[in-house]
């Protein structure tokens, strides 16, 4: 450190001090830039992976719990048929996880809990899917409506616009797996509550189908509109008979 010695070093230090206002300002700007990039990396990539894995772990845990209960339960005297599936139990309190969603189109790792209520801090911002409390339940004639984030907070419904007609959406409950077939997308204003009606957008009509309605924000990274995905109930797989082959790679039960 030769430059520390003598007059040359003092001059250098004083020159540094004179530059320091601009220098410090520049360093603050660079720091702010790095902070912003770190935040974006976290928001758009890292946190979604972390939350997605958390949701997957939570789902696997819940599924194993149901599987354990089912193996000790008594034989059902009147087993459900695909035409008359069991109706899921009404969740006791808001925030309670009562179902899981599996969508092969969203990837093999998509395995996300559905909790009661659509509160942002209580359900949606945790990365879970929220059930509109006034809507029907899985297996019930009417409209089973859920909401989830499309960007950030684990972005469960990030690929909602990539669904294709006929894609299967599975809802897992304590009883087994409900299979829904995707039918169509709709775009509505944030106040478009008609999508939650027992027969969507048809007030007063008598429901005959079992509909699954998924709502999320649209366009990506905006809350100007809502994207709606409608699916119709197709069949039911009782827990005792195991999950359908299509989702055997996602649901790991009975090992």
């Amino acid at each position: 450190m030769g430059e520390r010695r003598g007059g040359a070093g003092t001059a250098r230090r004083s020159r540094r001090r004179r530059l320091s206002v601009v220098g410090v300002l520049g360093e603050i700007f660079i720091t702010a830039g790095v902070f912003t990039l770190l935040f974006l990396g976290w928001q758009l990539w890292l946190n979604d992976i972390i939350v997605g894995n958390e949701m997957r772990d939570q789902s696997e845990h819940q599924s194993a719990l149901w599987q354990g209960n089912a193996s000790t339960a008594e034989e059902d005297p009147s087993p459900p048929t695909p035409d008359e599936p069991p109706v899921a139990d009404k969740p006791g309190s808001s925030g309670e996880v009562f179902a899981l969603m599996i969508v092969p189109r969203f990837g093999k790792n998509f395995y996300t809990p559905i909790a009661e209520g659509v509160g942002t801090t209580q359900v949606l911002n945790r990365g879970e899917i929220g059930h509109y409390p006034t809507s029907s339940l899985p297996g019930e004639v009417g409209n089973f409506a859920v909401a989830a984030h499309r960007t950030s907070f684990g972005k469960p419904f990030n690929n909602i616009a990539n669904l294709r007609v006929g894609d299967h959406i599975y809802i897992e409950t304590a009883d087994g797996w409900y299979q829904y077939g995707f039918r169509n997308l709709e775009y509505v204003r944030p106040t478009g509550v008609g999508v939650l009606l027992p027969v969507p957008q048809n007030d007063g009509a008598t429901p005959g189908d079992r509909i699954l309605t998924m709502t999320s924000c649209n366009p990506l990274f905006s809350a100007a509109e809502r994207i709606i995905a409608y699916s119709v109930y197709e069949t039911f797989y009782p827990r005792t008979e195991g999950p359908p082959a299509e989702i055997a790679g996602t649901v790991l039960v009975g090992d």
Binding site: R16, S20, G23, V24, E27, I28, F35, L38, F39, W42, Q43, L46, N47, V118, T120, L124, N125, G130, Y132, A147, A148, H149, R150, T151, S152, F153, F157, V188, P190, T191, G192, V193, V195, L196, T215, S216, C217, F221, S222, A223, R226, I228
Partner: protein, 52 residues
């Protein structure tokens, strides 16, 4: 700012690097744990539900 910080830190260069690494790791942890989630709530669209 960072130059001054480097001069204030004691010890040989590798001790300073070690101290800075620990400080940076702590700052990153605070950001990921508390600062970023709070910022996210302010910035990200949190509305994915329909309501009247």
């Amino acid at each position: 700012m960072y130059g001054a910080l480097w001069r204030i830190l004691p010890g040989p260069w590798w001790v300073r690097v070690l101290i800075l690494a620990v400080v940076v790791a702590a700052l990153l942890f605070v950001c990921v744990q508390w600062v970023f989630p709070a910022l996210d709530l302010m910035i990200a669209p949190t509305d994915s539900t329909v309501e009247s």
